[in-house]
Amino acid sequence: MKRTLLFLAVLTLYVLHQDFWFWRTAHPLVFGFVPIGLFYQACFSVAASLLMLLLVKFAWPDHLEREIEQRETEEDVTR
């Protein structure tokens, strides 16, 4: 369930990248000089970072790390 939700979140963000709703307008100018289309894409980058935070928190491939650490510990003991 957790993985499905994360997959949907990734898919949603990918779709949100195609922001056709701001395609032909520069208004409003955020802070008086940043066109809305550029501001939206900057916010998108922040959202991408937050999504990565969720992926790291809830879908990190711990099993890969565990096995490597276990191997390294075994090798250290053998030495």
């Binding site: 289309g37 894409q41 970072s49 491939p61």
Partner: protein, 542 residues
């Protein structure tokens, strides 16, 4: 000349970092230490060096130049899509490759493919395609270094001498420092990049008297207002661009870098902060590139705008050569340097010039990756390591670095830059089309070496086909594309002012999709690797 002095100080600093790394590694003449820094990079160096490795001259010069001509769309096209796709591929693919590298001792992607699919010469075919697609980067890096040093020094340093200095410095720290030196230099360069964006926007903003009036004046001008929207770019083209960042993880220098982390935990910060690093560098550069259109007191910028105007109004009636010449005049790759020269005090322009040099000199990782690939995938694989030992393998890698740098410098002196700029465009699509190799190797038990061969041959053929098509059919003037093949009323193949369109998409879309399809279809009808081999790759305990 003062800015050039800052740049020379910067060049001396990076050379020193490389030699310092060499001293640190003295007595450890092992291939894994030289080529992978003994897989021991910490989280900070890993994040910054991996990011720096992926940022080329395009990050500062190209992004602002593209934005100067095309407007704010540049950020969505190239930066924010990369901010989603690249960390995602590092999360999914980079971590797994790291684990397999630790487990089985791989140092290159081809080593992994050879073992995973029980293939020998198919691995060599993949090496050849990867190497051919990588070489233009090294050449363009030297060309960029020569050009930048020439501009920064006000023509006091000639192109040939600037190119030679940059080639020597890069060769020096890669030769001595190997991966450790390259990673440290990349970290230093990334810090400079990040500072560059912030300082440049403050200084130029103040010089222009604030951006508010510039933005409003652009909105009031019918010729410039579209640059603050995306109306000149089709949504299909915009969508196509999201396929390009798939190339990042397939670049050998990025994948090899993934093997250098000491712990898998170090990937966490990289994955989370990657989109923010892209934002910090690209947003100021894109914004400044757009705003450069409002600058009226820099004659070179006005000349570019005039060339753009002539191209738009009279381009259709011109000969292709004349159009290309105008395109070159209208190109804005140097606008950010012109803005700095105009608005920044001399000492600051020098400091920021060093930041630009940091971006231009991104060919270090490619040179090292090519050397790693040659010594591991060819020299060691065909018996060199067994016969001559590991120390000779490292020496061979160093000799290879010298040879490739000299060859790249010689080519950079003779060939026109545009050829290699085009080659890089093809290389992005080519590496994106190779990405199904990684997905199949890591996530699909049923994939086979014949599927891998089909993907490799298709990628090579598609890259050549696009290059031949674009060479044979000159780019039309700005406006509607030149339809080359119409299929039932649909534009199947067109030549656009910026490249090629297949059913309205950039070629990278069909290239990636056909690659994936070939991997599936060919693998389904060919023999799988042994069960023991598959178990090795899919046997991580859950």
């Amino acid at each position: 000349m003062i800015p050039a002095i800052f740049v020379f100080v910067y060049l001396a600093a990076v050379l020193y970092i490389g030699i310092f790394a060499f001293r640190q590694a003295r007595g450890r003449e092992r291939a894994e230490d030289y080529f992978l820094a003994s897989r021991s990079l910490g989280p900070f160096v890993f994040l910054f060096s991996l990011f720096g490795t992926n940022m080329t001259a395009f990050a500062i010069l190209g992004s602002s130049g593209h934005a100067f001509s095309n407007g704010i769309v540049t950020f969505g096209l190239m930066a924010s899509s990369s901010g989603l796709v690249i960390p995602l591929t590092i999360f999914l693919i980079g971590t797994r490759v790291w684990a397999l590298g630790k487990k089985f001792g791989f140092m290159t992607p081809v080593q992994m493919f050879r073992d995973r699919w029980e293939c020998e010469h198919i691995g060599t075919a993949i090496f050849v395609v990867q190497a051919v697609l990588l070489v233009p980067y090294i050449i363009i890096g030297i060309m960029g270094g020569g050009t930048t040093l020439k501009v920064i020094s006000g023509d006091l340093v000639p192109y040939w001498f600037g190119g030679a200095i940059v080639a020597l410095v890069v060769m020096g720290y890669v030769f001595f420092g190997g991966m450790r030196g390259t990673a440290w230099v990349n970290t230093f360069q990334t810090v400079l990049f990040l500072l560059f964006g912030v300082i440049a926007i403050i200084v130029i903003g103040a010089g222009m008297g604030g951006f508010r009036s510039a933005a409003n004046a652009m909105l009031a001008s019918p010729a410039l207002a579209p640059l603050l929207t995306r109306e000149r770019i089709s949504p299909l083209y915009f969508f196509s661009y999201t396929f390009i960042p798939l190339s990042a993880i397939a670049f050998p220098h990025i994948l090899i870098f993934c093997l250098t982390a000491e712990k898998m935990n170090h990937f966490k910060k990289t994955v989370i902060f990657y989109p923010l690093c892209i934002l910090a560098i690209w947003l100021p550069c894109v914004f400044l590139g757009v705003m450069a259109n409002r600058v009226t007191d820099i004659p070179q910028v006005r000349a570019k705008q005039e060339a753009r105007r002539v191209l738009a109004t009279q381009g259709k009636t011109m000969e292709p050569e004349a159009r290309d010449q105008l395109r070159e005049q209208a190109a804005g790759d140097d606008v950010i340097m012109l803005l700095l020269q105009r608005y920044a005090p001399l000492w600051l322009a020098g400091l920021l010039g060093a930041g630009i040099m940091a971006a231009v000199m991104a060919s270090d990782s490619q040179i090292l990756a090519l050397s790693t690939m040659f010594t591991e995938d060819i020299f060691a694989f065909y018996g060199g390591k067994r016969r001559f030992g590991e120390a000779v393998q490292v020496h061979t890698g160093r000799i290879f670095i010298v040879i490739i740098t000299i060859v790249a410098y010689a080519v950079a002196l003779r060939a026109p830059e545009t050829i290699f700029e085009l080659a890089i465009q093809y290389a992005f699509s080519g590496f994106a089309a190779l990405s199904p190799l990684l997905v199949a190797a890591l996530f699909w038990k049923g994939s086979t070496k014949w599927g891998a061969l089909a993907v490799t041959l298709w990628t090579a053929a598609a890259v050549v086909a696009v290059a031949v098509f674009q060479h044979a059919v000159p780019a039309p003037a700005p406006g509607p594309p030149l339809v080359f093949w119409n299929l039932g009323g649909t534009e199947a193949l067109s030549r656009t002012p910026g490249g090629t369109a297949v059913f309205g998409f950039m070629p990278v879309v069909p290239m990636v999709l056909v690659s994936a399809l070939l991997m599936v279809v060919v693998s389904l009808v060919t023999r799988k690797p042994k069960q023991t081999t598959i178990a090795k790759y899919f046997g991580f305990s859950k």
